[in-house]
Symmetry: C2
Subunit: 148 residues, 2 copies
């Protein structure tokens, strides 16, 4: 007896929410082998690319706030993946860098993107690009709207 527009099956948000969780579930077995979670994995992706970053840069790049990133980095430090040091030039700023163990994981991670691509698209090459462009477009629109 619900209003048509409120039916669960019509909600785009729910598809995005569901896809997000399916995706995390698909990554989990791969990331378990590296001993990291998904948010830790994307933190590593950033650090593999830029060598080191401040906490603030990581928050910005990943779109997460300090309440998420700060304890996440603490766990990664405990697990020996990253090291933290305060800048001499500004004692407020914490610079995060990879340990040898953190760097070494990059080799083990190399196979993940292509493996995940096949999980997401099977053999459909064009599907990936069309999903990417639609997602970019939608995120842009959302961010746009939020800023007003």
């Amino acid at each position: 007896m619900a209003y048509e527009e409120l039916k669960l099956e019509h909600q785009l948000c729910f598809k995005i929410y569901a896809l997000h969780r399916e995706l995390m579930a698909a990554y989990r077995p791969l990331l378990d082998e590296l001993g990291v979670t998904y948010p830790q994995y994307i933190t590593l992706l950033y650090l593999w690319e830029y060598e080191e970053a401040t906490v603030g840069q990581l928050c910005n790049a990943l779109g997460l706030d300090t309440g998420t990133v700060s304890p996440l980095l603490k766990r990664m430090e405990v697990n020996g993946l990253v090291a933290k040091r305060r800048l001499v030039s500004d004692e407020r700023t914490v610079m995060v860098s990879l340990t040898e163990r953190g760097k070494a994981l990059e080799e083990e991670a190399r196979s993940i993107p292509s493996h995940m691509a096949s999980c997401l698209f099977g053999d459909d090459e064009t599907g990936a690009r069309s999903l990417a462009s639609v997602l970019d477009q939608t995120i842009r629109q959302l961010v746009e709207t939020r800023k007003q």
Copy 2:
């Protein structure tokens, strides 16, 4: 110096992850007015449509496990949105139904879908449908892969 395939910007997963969080952020102010979170909102969507459901049916429909749904329902019960009762025919089964207050929220929620649609797509009507179909396709592929 990272491998090209491991750069953050190339990761489709990250776009989905980011979109998911942007979307939750966009919903938050609307749902705050109803006094519910997003997972509670989709639980209400289901109950508005089907009147009542067992815990298991909700887990299935929402794709969440009992460890998530069980405490979520407990909070909704405390907030006076749902009621729970055990079936006489099977004392293991818990039936969840809406309270008057839970039913009343449906009216207040009616404006949410169209409001969110404009946040997601601006004026672009076709964007919604193309995103929906790409998401459906991708979820199907992921679920397919997971089952093997």
